[in-house]
Symmetry: C2
Subunit: 321 residues, 2 copies
């Protein structure tokens, strides 16, 4: 928190707002109800699970949170999402130009946080490895966002291509969080890779669940949300397009041929998709991914207690979203 | 170049386009006439001027170029500049959402390039210092862009506040380029700081000259450019607002009170500013800044040959823009 607050500058108000610490324009009234810190928590859980010191790992956890939240801020601008965590998105409050700055600044701050690892006794070589991994994961997330935007204007995205895209866009950062947590905790490369797989699979599972919620609603809201109207290639849509008969494809194509979707189109879309059993199929995908994530944990270097804490957290994440 | 090209992916086509290596959409027809590599060149000149090895410094030079160009790509989106280097800006070709990705990806690539210093025999401690300096400079550039955008909606920006803004927005990265060049070349902290000042003052001088060109045209173009229409607080405008009589202030205020400026407004603006001698005053500011930049070079650790090469390059930069 000190990392963002110490600079005392309106640029940092935007960041503090996105992180859920303050209201818009210094008003304290509209703090978010819940604020997820999944990337930081996973970094710390992975570190302690391999017998590492959570304290030494704090800079890495902070960095992963900042890098993930930077990506969120830019993603909201790119997708035109007016809301994030049930509040106005940063770009909606300060405009897209300043939101780009808030994201860029957060990106730089995340990197600065990472370098503090060297002050906490983590060996130089390891700090370099960690910095490199975070940069590579950030780049993969960026590649994933690129292809995600490209896919909005296409119809022929396969389930396989979706999985590759989600692996980069959502899996890479969560995998990186667990991997660097393990490395900072003193684990070897093999253990680091196993935990990277654990985080990556979990990330994709959460993406699939979030796509399902976009269509059928979460939190008691049953309207398809803005992502559907943006023609985002949500996994149930991708699945349906791949498994539709010619006449169903025509019905879906007609909806997607429109330049802008309306609420009615979204409901019609959901009807066709429902008929194809896409919901159940995608729920099964999410379960499989979660199982793969948990299976990756089954290695010797992770102590039983650490395993059960990670399992518990994964259970919480996959049931609440 | 390998850093950007090796990934073979359309995201990198955007980057290659902005860097002037390729046309839009794989057309080779429209390469830019000139492409400035000031930040990389300055990094290398500073390194060799203190007796360092240019080869070992290449990753730092590449990184400074990538970080500067990332900032340019985002700046063009934020300001709505349709052109850069006499070609369409990245966001104009690929849209703002994908241009944000191109910038973010370039930011991550810049950081990855920097880490290659460790493979070229630069001691760990020094690499950490360099990485930290680049992140801090990147953050300052971002703060500068933030205040620059804020200033577009204000009239009461003082010359002093402009200088602080330009120091962050333009000076920080060029100062950082020379500073890390010197550090990689083996110089001590004091020499590094002197060269940071050299680059920083030069950066501000170039910003002042670029502001002058925006109003009175460079390259034979005598129309005020898009920055003027965007109500950007160019230094001649700032100077004029600070030195205007009440009735001149009213004339300027009337122009700036408009939501959007037209070409006619820009010409009227220039007329008022001309009457106040702002052009000559700002040209003098640029000369003073250049002299400060050159004065900072006058330290023992910089060999005479190195000095004269840097002087020559500074002369070239400040005469062509």
């Amino acid at each position: 928190m000190a990392i963002v607050n110490e600079r005392g500058f309106p640029l940092y108000d935007m960041m503090g707002y996105h992180l859920g610490w303050r209201g818009a324009h210094a008003l304290d009234g509209d703090l978010p109800r819940r604020q997820e810190r999944m990337h930081g928590v996973m970094t710390l859980l992975a570190c302690t699970a391999v017998g590492g010191d959570a304290d030494a790992c704090l800079p890495a956890a902070a960095a992963m949170e900042l890098v993930d939240k930077f990506a969120e801020i830019h993603d909201d601008v790119q997708e035109g999402n007016p809301q994030r965590n049930e509040r106005d998105a940063v770009w909606w409050v300060w405009g897209p130009a300043q939101a780009i700055n808030a994201g860029d600044g957060m990106h730089a701050l995340g990197r600065l946080a990472l370098l503090r690892l060297a002050d906490r006794g983590v060996p130089d070589e390891r700090v370099f490895d960690v910095v490199r991994l975070v940069d590579k994961a950030g780049l993969r997330a960026c590649e994933g966002r690129f292809r995600d935007l490209e896919a909005q204007e296409r119809i022929d995205l396969s389930v396989e291509a979706y999985m590759r895209l989600a692996t980069d866009k959502t899996g890479a950062l969560l995998g990186c969080a667990m991997q660097i947590g393990a490395l900072v905790g003193g684990a070897g490369a093999e253990t680091g890779n196993a935990l990277a797989t654990c985080g990556e699979r979990l990330g994709i599972a959460l993406q699939v669940r979030s796509d399902l919620a976009a269509l059928w609603g979460g939190n008691g809201n049953s309207q398809p949300n803005v992502e559907v109207l943006n023609k985002k290639k949500l996994i149930p849509v991708v699945y349906a397009l791949e498994n539709a008969t010619v006449s169903e494809k025509r019905a879906l194509g007609e909806i997607y041929f429109k330049r802008v979707l309306e609420s009615d189109d979204a409901l019609k879309l959901r009807e066709v998709i429902d008929g194809l059993g896409a919901r159940a199929a995608c729920e099964k995908m999410a379960d499989t991914l979660k199982a793969e994530s948990l299976a990756a944990l089954e290695i010797e270097d992770v102590a039983p207690e650490g395993k059960s804490r990670i399992r518990e957290y994964i259970g919480m994440l996959t049931s609440s979203r």
